[in-house]
């Protein structure tokens, strides 16, 4: 199921009318425990709580001895559970949230590391370099042929290669270690550094896919003669290390690349998509 259609659980820590407030230390411990498990928590000290549009809601509070809460706008589409947490320690609070998540069939956080390109449309020129570059189908275009990141979960964790390909430094990975890829302000000096106006090419002074194919072919010939698995592995590692250094691409990503033939097929497909998108752009 696509990320955008999965149901989520929203947790509300309610300390408004008809509920006792938590001690500050308990509140911090409860919030920390819930965040640690990936839940989003709204702390409410009064007023109204907006309904959750896509999923379920768990309302935690010290309701014991209090009156009933005024509820409105609830529907079968957005189920709500109220949980009195009087006397609960942080473990029980966390368990309540986990139990509600399971009961409502909400998405489990942490199964997927959120690593995906975020496009800065202030900088993007819709040149389609990223679409042409990515072999994993992360990019696509909207109805107006405008580039967008469409398949986030296809993206390879910790790989910022497409942002290095972008001639305008318009692609961010907010979890990346350094700017401007992490979203820091783009400096002129960054543009010089980031600008690799390529169709994959300049990474290794030539076509990466071609380089991979050539090395693979050469390795096959050599290894068939030498029959030395250790040498084969060493050669592959040397090649991959060079690629990894050139583009700051995790070695795991390179190791998981498909066969040269499949790489070529995907590259042709990606280029065709980019060409079609460029052709569809208004002049």
């Amino acid at each position: 199921m696509a990320l955008t259609t999965q149901s989520t659980l929203r947790v509300v820590l309610y300390e408004g009318a008809n509920a006792q407030p938590l001690e500050a230390g308990d509140r911090f411990a409860a919030l920390s425990a819930l965040l640690e498990k990936g839940f989003a928590v709204t702390r409410v000290s009064g007023g109204r709580v907006a309904p959750h549009d896509r999923g379920s809601m768990l309302v935690l509070g010290k309701f014991a001895g209090g009156g009933s809460l005024a509820t409105e706008g609830l529907s079968a589409e957005t189920p709500v559970r109220f949980q009195d947490i009087t006397g609960f320690d942080t473990n029980r609070i966390r368990e309540s949230a986990e139990s509600a998540r399971a009961e409502f069939g909400a998405a489990k956080h942490g199964d997927w590391k959120p690593w995906f390109p975020v496009i800065d449309y202030d900088r993007c020129t819709n040149c389609m370099q990223c679409l042409s570059f990515c072999l994993f189908g992360v990019y696509g275009v909207d109805e107006q042929s405008k580039i967008q990141a469409q398949n986030h979960d296809n993206c390879k964790t910790n790989c910022p290669a497409c942002s290095r390909v972008c001639p305008e430094a318009a692609i961010m990975f907010p979890k990346y270690k350094a700017g401007p890829i992490n979203g820091d302000v783009v400096q002129n000096s960054d543009l010089g550094k980031e600008k690799m106006k390529i169709d994959i090419s300049a990474l290794l002074g030539g076509d990466v896919y071609s380089a991979l194919r050539q090395r693979s072919d050469a390795a096959k010939t050599r290894f068939s003669k030498e029959r030395d698995d250790k040498k084969a592995l060493a050669e592959r590692q040397k090649c991959l290390a060079k690629l990894a250094n050139a583009g700051d691409i995790p070695i795991e990503v390179l190791m998981s690349l498909p066969s040269p033939e499949e790489i070529q097929r995907r590259a042709v497909e990606a280029k065709a998509k980019a060409s079609a998108a460029l052709a569809a752009q208004p002049n």
Partner: protein
């Protein structure tokens, strides 16, 4: 850093939303982000303003350029972040650019 900011928030009487991972919520196009973006003036303690602006955009929840202040926990100290959060004045600091409603992603082409 995050823990120190959360502790200060927890000690305050303020209402707030705390999220485990803004990137994940953006990828899910979580409706909470739309609620925040449409709720008027907002302060967000997260990472770089440029990244936050476009994470919200990716979630189809454009933040108001004139009423959103992003406090960068990668660059500011916990004290600076909490002082800014508790300051009633909102100091908008999203990078201004060409984005308009027409720039929002449309449904994917078939």
């Amino acid at each position: 850093m995050k823990e120190a900011v959360l502790r200060k928030l927890a000690e305050s009487g303020l209402a707030f939303d705390a999220v485990a991972d803004l990137c994940e919520m953006s990828a899910r196009q979580d409706s909470s982000l739309q609620r925040l973006a449409e709720g008027g003036a907002v302060k967000i303690a997260a990472c770089f303003p440029r990244a936050v602006k476009w994470l919200f955009h990716a979630a189809r929840a454009d933040l108001p350029l004139d009423a959103a202040e992003v406090l960068n926990m990668r660059a500011l100290s916990a004290e600076e972040v909490t002082a800014a959060l508790f300051n009633p004045e909102v100091k908008p600091n999203l990078p201004e650019g060409k984005v308009t409603a027409s720039d929002a992603p449309k449904a994917a082409a078939a």
